[in-house]
């Protein structure tokens, strides 16, 4: 079935960190890659992020944090999704996340962490491969 729906991504800044160059660059970059992106703006609580994701009917949540609060904030988003029994939204994260925190975050249900220096193209490939377009089967890019 030829599905026209584009992958929808919510780029979110949880917590109080105001460094959003990365979040904006990825939001704009994924748009170049043919996805629909929504940027939440700064200072979103995990609750607000999950609410926005549901309202916007997104396939992916991208979390960006550079303040060191990722160990609390990222798992909290996943937890809230689970509470709402939402299992088809892919949660990915980025920022200056120390390497040793990555296994912990993955264990908590963040599916991938992208650290500084990652190309947007690489993130786009990952998303295309792993996102389930909600209610539809995603169109494989190969």
């Amino acid at each position: 079935m030829n599905d026209e729906r584009k992958i929808r991504v919510l780029m979110a800044k949880p917590g109080l960190d105001g460094h959003d160059r990365g979040a904006k660059v990825i939001a704009l970059g994924l748009r170049d890659e043919g996805m629909e992106t929504i940027y939440t703006g700064l200072r979103q609580t995990p609750e607000q992020i999950v609410r926005a994701a549901i309202q916007e009917d997104v396939d992916v949540i991208g979390l960006s944090c550079l303040s060191g609060a990722h160990k609390y904030l990222f798992p909290r988003v996943v937890e809230l999704l689970k509470e709402q029994a939402i299992e088809d939204i892919l949660v990915i994260g980025g920022g200056n996340i120390p390497k040793e925190d990555i296994p912990f975050l993955k264990e908590k249900g963040v599916s991938e962490i992208f650290t500084p220096g990652t190309m947007v193209g690489e993130i786009a490939d990952y998303v295309r491969k792993n996102a389930k377009t909600r209610g539809h089967q995603s169109v494989a890019s190969e």
Binding site: D17, G29, Y39, G121
Partner: protein, 586 residues
Amino acid sequence: MSSDIEKVKKRKQEWEEKVLKPALEGFGLKESPTKSYTPADTEGFDFLSKVGFPGEYPFTAGIYAAQPGMPAPRVGRATAQRRGRPAGPRLVRAAGYSGYGTAEDTRDYYKEMQKRGDRGGPNLAFDLPTQCGYDSDNPMIRGDVGKVGVTVDTLRDFEIIYEPFQGETELDRIASNFTINAPANILIAMYFALAEKRGIPLDKLRATPQNDILKEFIARGTYIFPPRPSMRMFRDSMVFFNKYCPRINITSAGGYHIRGAGATREQDLAFSMAILIAYLQEGVNAGLDVDSFAPRFTINQFGGSMEMFKEIAFHRASRRMYARIVKEKFGAKSQRSMLLRGGRMGAQIGCENTTVQRPLNNLTRSVIGAVASALSGGEGTAYPPYDEPLVMGRGLESSQLARDATRIVHYEAKLGEVRDPLAGSYYIESLTDEIEEAARKELDKIEAMGGAVAAIENGYMQREVAKSAHARQKRIESGEDLMVGVNCFVGEDELELEINHLVPHVYDPVRRDQAEEKQIKNLTELKKSRDNRAVAQLLKKLKTKAKKEEENLIPHFIECAKAYVSEQEMCDVLREVFGEYEPVSL
């Protein structure tokens, strides 16, 4: 003169035909990978009006006649190992940017640093809840307490942080820096309240709050109120410091955050100048003589890129542009008003150009920055330490090597011996003009919109910076811009060097993790033990005063601070009156 220029132009053409072209053909190139400059590129160059002498208008060659030197080297083994007070005048500068966890954690850190010989005042990093006007017990901000700096809710926290600063390091003998913007007036009022309790008059205090709120809307993002009421807060501090605190700098404004957020060199310069103009104008509108307050504007850091010559030219252009603005637009008479004055002012590479890949390469990068700094009129500072992007906390070894790089640039390479050594270079002079002109054009555009405040309210600056960041990322992805170890020279032939800290960091990670819980407990107890009826009355009074635009709120913040009214309690009243900033969409 002009016939000489004609001769040069003609000769250059001949050289391009007869020498360059065959050489390029020999290499199989269509275009030359290198450029060369001649006197024709600086035609009509007037040294006195464009450059002048160091410490003289227009300050292109540097803001000081002679650069205040590095601390005298302590020669010899025994003395070199003693981290005592350097020879010369007593050090009143603030120490390195620091602070984490609770007030107790930060107090203990400073005690430890004093044991190691530090005598400077604290250069306080506040956590994000403090920077954004939230108390630690607010459930909305869980996860951020004590992370990127120390958490401050009330005067009690200031009392604890400053416990080690007594006697030889009493408040009137040290300088403090506060990296605080939106709630700057509240935090500094807590410091004033502390000074009053210790019996130290305000005019003896030395401090520099960052107090550069406008850039927070473009970069860094710790805004609270909309731009206009934020400017009123700025006015209040400017007027109050002017009257009562002659040794407190009004602002430590900086363009490097804007560059770090993605701005181009020209945008960085234009936006920073537009912001400084808005601050100066605010002072003039408040009825102050520009020469009475402009000398206490300082600059944090400016610029930031790996393109060394362009950064050097950028710094020369920025000093000249600012001096011209303050003199021509504001009619300043005192030369001290016209200085872009700042700590280690000078060119630098910008933290955004450091990489997590093969992090030791950042030392190489920061050395290039140090050379640029020395050649641009700065102190030759190597910055940042190589582990900056790794979020492990700057290690003692990386900080040692950064300090050593600065010393090597100064004492071994002797780059500090000549002021503005590139003055008169055809390339640097034409580049300096070019950068100033491009920034001037952009600045005119902003002024036509109504200045920095208007260009933030309508989202122009924010959107332009995001566009530039996006464009840079595209250049990195296409390979047009190269970053070694990131988008080139990666793969099996390369060794992916990693680093570990050999010396443990002075911050205790366990204490940092426990800070949130501890601070919530501290604050809950404090809120129970204070006179809450007085608190309610003070907050009511604050609301009445905040509604009057002409009212200076700082004296009232001091009263609130003394009664242990919390930061968020004060901010919430202001949120009600001023509203909160709503960011523009992408």
